[in-house]
Structures are given as C-alpha cells and as structure tokens.
Amino acid sequence: MPISKEYVAKRLILLMLVVIGVLFITFIITRIIPARPELLWAGPHATIEQIQKAREQLNLDKPILIQFILYLHGFFQGDWGISWRTRSPVLIDVLSSLTATLELIIIAFTIAFIIGVPFGVLAAIKKYTWIDDVARIVTVIGASMPVFWLALIVQLIFGTWLGILPSAKRVDEWVVIVTGFKQITGFYLIDSILQGNHMVFIDSLRHIVLPALVLASYPFCLSARMTRAVMMEVSTEPHVRSLIAWGLPQRTILFKYSLRNTLVPVIASIGLSFGYTIIGAFMVELVFVWPGIGYYAAMSLLSFDYPAVIGCVLIVAIFYCVINTLVDIIHSAIDPRVKL
C-alpha cells in the first residue's frame, strides 16, 4: 500500500479546503439569513446598549468578509465560539457529545457490516433460491425505511408494550451513582470495562441495543444489497469464470478472490453511507434521547444557536472527510491499480 507524499499533501489540502468551504457556506447561511443575530445573543431582556455591545462582541459591525476571517482566525486557534444557548465553548460541547454518537455509530456500523456483508454474500451465492428472494425483499424494505419511524415503532414495541429494553438515554443514572462510575474515554462500554464495572456495562449495553439496531438498519441493508449486487456482477466476470475453469476450490474463489473484488465498491459505499447514517443518527438520537452530536445539533438548530450549528456541521464534515480518506486508503490497499 504505497502512499505517496503527494497524496498526503493532496488530502491535507483537500481537508483544509473542505473545512474552509464548509465554514464559509455555513457561515454565510447563518450570518446572512437570520436578520439580527445580536438580538439572539443579547437575549430577551436586553437593553439597546446591551444589543450594541453584543454587535461589537460578535463583530457584526464589521464587513462580512472581515467577520469570516476573524472567525477563521479564532477557529484555527481552537476557539469555535460560545454557544448562545448553553453559553459554554462550542468545541467542548461538540467534543463531549461526539463520543456518545461515535459509540452509537461504531456499534451500528459494526453490526451492519459484520452481518450485512456475509448476508449479501450468502444471497449472491444462493442466487435463484428463496434465500436470495427473501434477502432482496428484506433489504429493499430496510433501505427504504424512514429511520425515525422505525425508531418510534421499535421504542413502542420493546420499550412500552413489552417493556424489556430501555428506550431512552445511555445509561441509568442510578446505576452510575450507585457504582461510582466515572467517564474516562466517554465511551460507556469501554469505560465500564476499564473500570470492571459489570453493572454499568450491561446497563449501557441494554440502552444501546435499540438505537444501534435502528441505526444499523440502513447501512446493514445497504451493505447487504451492495455486496449481493456486486458479488453477482463479479461472479460473471471473466477473471472469476477463469478461476472456476482452472478448478480452484470454490471456497478459495469465493472468499479469497471474489470477496476482495466485491469489497472495493462495498467499502466505498460504507464511506458514503456514513453520511446518511450520521443524519440517521440525528433522528435516532432525537427519538432515543441519546445525548450525542445529532441531538445537540438538532437542539442548536431549533434554537438558532449558530456557533453551535457551525461547530456541529464542521465536526461532521471533518469526520466525513476523514472517513472518505480512509476509504481511499483501504481502496488503494485492496486495489493495486489505485496509486495514492
């Protein structure tokens, strides 16, 4: 997997451009469209003088370009602004809610791809059987599912009607206090293992099951469908037919050769589905009261807390960019024709 310096430079420059571009677009949207941000900042009881002071604080008295440059300047020094809603630094807010989302997304993605890819493979090699037909129907339904609705239904069934799984929050406060659980990494499952805290581990596992499954539904169906479709395409390609003709064992053909060919587009789709999944996470977090970035962003949006909104958009965009880079690197590792 040769990665050239040029590629690294290119990616870094690209990341920089994306960050500035995203900042620029979001900044423009959020500064131009709401008529008077200083009113929001100064709060409902502000006097005229306070509003004027707010204008100065927010640099609103300066030309828009200067405002943007000042913002950029602060941004690269780690000053992402102060949330108008919580009055705490956006960077801290964003990072603290990010771990909750990551825990959810990582679990969802793991479920999705660990089950999804083999499921797709199975459907592909069982082409022309009921397994394939069922897989086709199940995955098309899953990929068309409005995730927020699924969340509601699942919550209703398992949380309210059956009452077997908790349907909100990350962990029971009571357990946290009783066991003296401390956050270290912010990932409850990891933290509880690190502390040998059996109760918190099980409790947070119980809490994460429903949201993670709901969130996993889309990437799962996507990866299964993608795998199935690509696998079928690959299996008709001459380089696979030739291996069959040369009498290699089917196991080798399937799991060594075809699978690697299949993984190239499948992994690319993982990167892209990340984008959809994070938006899915917005809704799932909203329904399951999961204190993640999606929840934070939704709340910030609804109360026009623009520094927070820009922060959220940015962190998500950076993540998206990083994931895409990762996909490129994995791609180049799999495919020797791709030189980075």
Binding site: L17, V18, G21, V22, I25, T26, I29, T30, I33, P34, K127, Y128, T129, D132, D133, R136, I137, V140, I141, A143, S144, M145, P146, V147, F148, W149, L150, L152, I153, Q155, L156, T160, L222, R225, M226, A229, M232, V264, P265, A268, S269, L272, S273, G275, Y276, I278, I279, F282, M283, V287, A297, A298, L301, L302, V309, V313, V316, A317, Y320, C321
Partner: protein, 296 residues
C-alpha cells in the same frame, strides 16, 4: 436435478418480474393518489387541517376511520391520503429544482471543460463535501419552516449529485464515436450539444432522477420530523409521524400509518430502480461508480 435448477431460475425470474410489477403498481398508485388526493379525500376539512372534532379524538382504526383519528379528532386516513399530494409536490419540486441547477452546471462543465469546467466542478465538490442532507437541514432551519423552503433547501443539497452525474455522462458521451461522426458531418457545436450530447447525457440522469423521488420523499419526511420541514397543519407524512409521536403510547396509529405510507412509497421507487438496474441504493451506487471511475 437439471429440471429443478431450471425451475428455480425461472421462478426467480418470475419473482423478479412480480416485484417489478408490484413496484410499478406502487409508484403509479402513489402518483394517482398524489394527483387526485385533494379530490377524493373522504374528509377534506380534516385532511387540510381546517377543522377539529373534540368528541372524536384518539379513536382507534374503524370502518369509518380506517386509520383512526388524531389528537384533534381528525381522520388520519384523509390526512395520509392528502399527504401523498404533498409528498408528490415535494418530490417533483426537489428533483426538478435540483435538475434545473445541476444539469446546466454539469453540461457546461462537461462539454466545455477547461477553466470554467474546473471551477464549476470544484464548487460542486465543495457542496459534495457536506455529508448528504446536513446542508439541507441547516438551510431548512435557517430559511424557516414551509413547503417552499423545504423544497429549496433539499434541492440545494441535492443538485451537486446531478451536476456530477451529468458531468460524468457528458464527458462520456462527448468522447463517443457518434459525436465524432456528428462533428465530421460538420454540425456546429451548439447543434451537436443540443441534438446529441444533451439527449444522450441526460437520459440516464433523468431516469435516475425519477427514481430518486423516493429518496426525496424520505429525506423531506426526515426534515419535517426533526422540525425543520413543512409547518402544521400541512399533512406531510414526516410531520404526521412527528405529531403522532406525541401520543404514540396512547394512540399508535397516528404515527404508524403515515410512516407506513412513506415506507411503501419509497420501497416502490427502490424496487423499480432495482428492476431497471441491479442496484443497491441508487444514491450510493452512482457515487460509488463515480468514485471508482466506472461509467454507467
């Protein structure tokens, strides 16, 4: 053994055909309901949210109200039915607007290339760097709630996909021998562009766009659910689910049926896409192909 295998293959082909038929049926009925919705709703006042009925609140599904009634005593069935009209408007609006921006950008960048093309595509890439929908959410929230704002917000986050697709297609078509043969016939550039490049480059995009209507409905519903979409009492499906959420423990049907309507409609579009081309999520697939430099 042989006979069995043959029958399995034939059966599978039939299932495939059946599914395409079903999908066609779903999509057609969605369009029919969407167009005729306002004229055939059993309780038009309920559907438009112009009335309420205190006595009829939270009635479970019955013959009179097949989907039950909501918190204001309105017929959920009527609202879901009329919702198909709004979903249709949103889908057509979003896709249409996105195409209206995306096609010129893609065609110009693809056909003329050069510096203008590069600049246009870099701008497109910048928009594509946003995770899908995030931009739409921010825009929709900033513009304020409303049908038109929702459509604009979604279209703005959507057009770069089309412009990229059209760009790739235009580039492919531009290098096809039949374009050479048109050049050799001496046709002027504008004629080649209008008669050969655009029709050939756009057909796949337009088919794709038609199939994307399912996704547009899904994403619009998501935005409405978050609370940045249409405003009440518009019977948009996402908003209906969101309203039903308030009383889901008490009256599950209010949120259930509109969600089911979304699901069925989107399944219809996706199955149709499957039937037209063996595909995963069309949105994902086309970008994967673009990334990998494979032409469709």
């Amino acid at each position: 053994m042989i006979r069995f295998k043959e029958q399995r293959i034939i059966l599978s082909l039939i299932v495939k055909k059946r599914l395409s038929l079903i999908s066609l049926l779903i999509v057609l009925s969605f369009i029919v309901f969407g167009v005729s919705g306002p004229f055939i709703v059993p309780y038009p006042e309920d559907a438009w949210g112009l009335t309420y009925n205190v006595e009829k609140r939270f009635q479970p599904p019955s013959v009179e109200h097949p989907f039950g009634t909501d918190a204001l005593g309105r017929d959920v069935f009527s609202r879901v039915l009329l919702g198909s009209s709004f979903s249709l408007i949103i889908a057509i609006g979003v896709i249409g607007l996105a195409l209206a921006i995306g096609i010129p950008v893609g065609v110009v960048a693809g056909y003329y290339g050069g510096r203008i093309g590069t600049i246009l595509m870099r701008i497109t890439d910048m928009f594509l760097a946003f995770p899908p929908l995030l931009l739409a959410i921010v825009l929709a929230a900033t513009l304020g709630r409303g049908l038109l704002n929702l459509i604009v917000a979604l279209a703005i986050s959507w057009w770069p996909w089309y412009s990229r697709l059209v760009y790739v297609q235009t580039n492919t078509v531009k290098n096809m021998p039949y374009i050479d043969s048109a050049k050799i016939a001496g046709l002027p550039s504008y004629k080649i562009m209008t008669k050969h490049v655009i029709p050939n480059a756009l057909t796949p995009t337009l088919v794709q766009a038609a199939l994307d209507m399912g996704s547009a409905i899904l994403e619009a519903a998501g935005l409405s659910f978050i609370g940045v979409g249409v405003k009440p009492p518009t019977p948009e499906w996402g908003l209906l689910v969101s309203e039903g959420w308030q009383s889901i423990n008490y009256a599950w049907w209010i949120a259930f049926f509109p969600g089911l309507a979304i699901l069925i409609t989107v399944v219809g579009f996706n199955l149709l896409a499957d039937a037209l081309r063996e595909s995963a999520d069309p949105r994902i697939r086309r970008t994967v192909l673009m990334r990998l430099g494979i032409k469709q």
